[in-house]
């Protein structure tokens, strides 16, 4: 008997191999609704990105040191001395931003196709929780290089937490591990980033995939009018849909490598708690919220900024309409697109605020509200 056959036999005597194999094959060749398209590859890309972040994260942990004395130096070591360290770090840093960007696109696709509607409300909720977890990864990870941007952006972020009425101060102390950002903060953020959030993410992702697999992808018919899949028009997961993912995957990977090489992440200047740089800002995915908070008094802003995440989380329970096809729900689609665009715009204003730029040859200074003002020479 061949080695392969012998190995198979050994396992067959102990486990229901045939049943497992049949189950896997069924999953692989599962039929998907005929409208499944290139837009449905976003989820697969997210899975790849999550795996990549975990892998590059593990590799980074080999050389990163989570103490205030050594963190910055260890990142420098990674960039300068560790072979391919720049690549691992670059992939991790860009991977983070791309994961959030692709997440937003994926959520937008799901929203536009009404796929969150009954019976898939919990899949949407789980997805939004994954989104929050990813933002948590971004927030905790950003502190780890311990440069000026990290330190002060985290200070600003934890200040927002600490400004919650009544419990704010205690919350702030809990998050920071003290009254100010320091070694304790670094230790807590590191623990969250490297253990707590990864386990949470993996759990949420597994649940998300199990739910999708058991309920199958949402069709385009309205709720209650779903038709069973016609084998003549249905698309197989493998090899038909996976062949799409195989086209997109190398392109995506190429984009990542290009970003890492052409726009390598900075090391910055080592964190100095005594020197506050001008115009500190959080990472791009927090800019909309950050800018929003500037326009309103503290408590009003905080209360209002809790509304969009809640709306996002509970949307399937608020939108009880039954149409799924985008052409049949133009208002919803417009709303969804509008919200994303408005958020991006707010983020852009946040990016421009408190900075001086040259626009069309003129020096323009934007104040903290984003209002531009021409800078006159010799001021």
């Amino acid at each position: 008997m061949s080695l392969r056959a012998r190995t198979n036999g050994w396992f067959e005597q102990r486990f229901p191999v045939a049943g497992i194999r049949a189950g896997l094959e069924k999953q692989m060749h599962k039929l998907l609704p005929p409208h499944v398209s290139w837009l449905h590859t976003l989820g697969g890309m997210l899975l790849f990105l999550a795996a990549q972040q975990i892998l590059t994260g593990i590799l980074l942990m080999v050389y990163y040191r989570p103490t205030t004395e050594d963190a910055y130096e260890s990142v420098r070591f990674l960039m300068l001395k560790a072979t391919f360290g720049w690549l691992i770090r670059g992939l991790h840093a860009w991977g983070a931003s791309l994961m959030i960007a692709v997440l937003v696109l994926h959520m937008l696709r799901v929203f536009i196709m009404g796929a969150y509607k009954r019976p898939r409300e919990l899949t949407w909720v789980g997805g939004v929780l994954i989104f929050f977890t990813t933002l948590g990864f971004g927030f905790t990870g950003y502190l780890l290089p311990w440069n000026q941007l990290s330190y002060w952006a985290t200070t600003v972020g934890t200040e927002v937490v600490a400004s919650v009425p009544q419990i704010g101060h205690s919350l702030g102390v809990l998050v920071r591990g003290g009254e100010a950002v320091g070694q304790e903060t670094l230790a807590r953020f590191y623990t969250m980033h490297v253990v707590v959030l990864p386990w949470l993410l993996v759990f949420l992702i597994v649940v998300h995939i199990v739910m999708i697999r058991t309920q199958n992808l949402a069709p385009l018919e309205a709720v209650g009018e779903e038709r069973p899949l016609d084998p003549r028009t249905a698309v197989s997961f493998a090899p038909q849909h996976t062949s799409r993912e195989l086209v997109v995957f190398p392109l995506f990977f190429a984009l990542m490598i290009a970003l890492v090489i052409l726009f390598p992440p900075e090391i910055g200047v080592k964190a100095d708690p005594t020197v506050t740089p001008e115009g500190i800002k959080p990472e791009w995915y927090f800019l909309p919220a950050y800018q929003f908070l500037k326009y309103l008094p503290k408590l009003v802003g905080l209360a209002l900024s809790a509304v969009p995440p809640m709306l996002l989380l509970f949307w399937p329970f608020l939108d009880r309409t039954r149409a799924r096809r985008p052409s049949g729900r133009k208002l919803s689609v417009a709303l969804g697109l509008g919200v994303v665009l408005a958020t991006l715009l707010l983020g852009l204003v946040g990016y421009l605020s408190e900075s001086e730029r040259t626009i069309l040859g003129k020096r323009v200074r934007f104040d903290m509200y984003g209002v531009p003002e021409l800078v006159h020479e010799g001021h």
Partner: protein, 152 residues
């Protein structure tokens, strides 16, 4: 249920092209996997003898003759290494405590001098004259496995 993943019968040319494509993609995937695995392996091989938090300078003790001194840059900040006539080493910060110029060793006068405002220090780093307000910090030195180690 028809098995869609089994390709229908095709002409030999087509099936050759198909096989070639599948094999080529498979080979490409293998190259890709190697392209990920190999850098990862190299990355994990310790790049520098002491990892990211090297906090000392190591050098050959005989590279400094007795009675001489020189400024080293490898430690992240300038370090003045002096070797006394009796062979003993002393390592001091080479940053003048006045305005931060790099000091140097004047072997004739057996003094540490700062070229900027004529601050002078004893070989132990104490201020002799000039504007420096504080003495030069000193770093411990030790001989470890035949090498001079300065802990900065």
């Amino acid at each position: 249920m028809p098995n869609e993943h089994e390709p229908p019968a095709a002409s030999p040319n087509e099936s050759n092209r198909r096989d070639f494509l599948e094999r080529a993609l498979g080979a490409g995937a293998a190259v890709w996997a190697a392209g990920i695995a190999v850098p990862t392996g190299i990355y994990l091989w310790p790049a520098a003898a002491s990892g990211p938090t090297k906090k000392y300078i190591e050098l050959d003790p005989e590279s400094q003759a007795p009675g001489t001194g020189r400024v080293l840059g490898e430690g992240g900040k300038p370090v003045l290494l002096l070797r006394q006539k009796n062979g003993e080493f002393r390592a001091l910060s080479a940053v003048c405590t006045h305005l931060g110029c790099v000091v140097h060793w004047n072997a004739e006068q057996q003094q540490i001098q700062c070229p900027c405002h004529a601050g002078t220090f004893t070989p132990e780093g104490a201020v002799v004259s000039g504007p420096p307000p504080r003495p030069l910090a000193s770093y411990p030195t030790q001989l470890v496995a035949g090498k001079l180690r300065i802990t900065t």
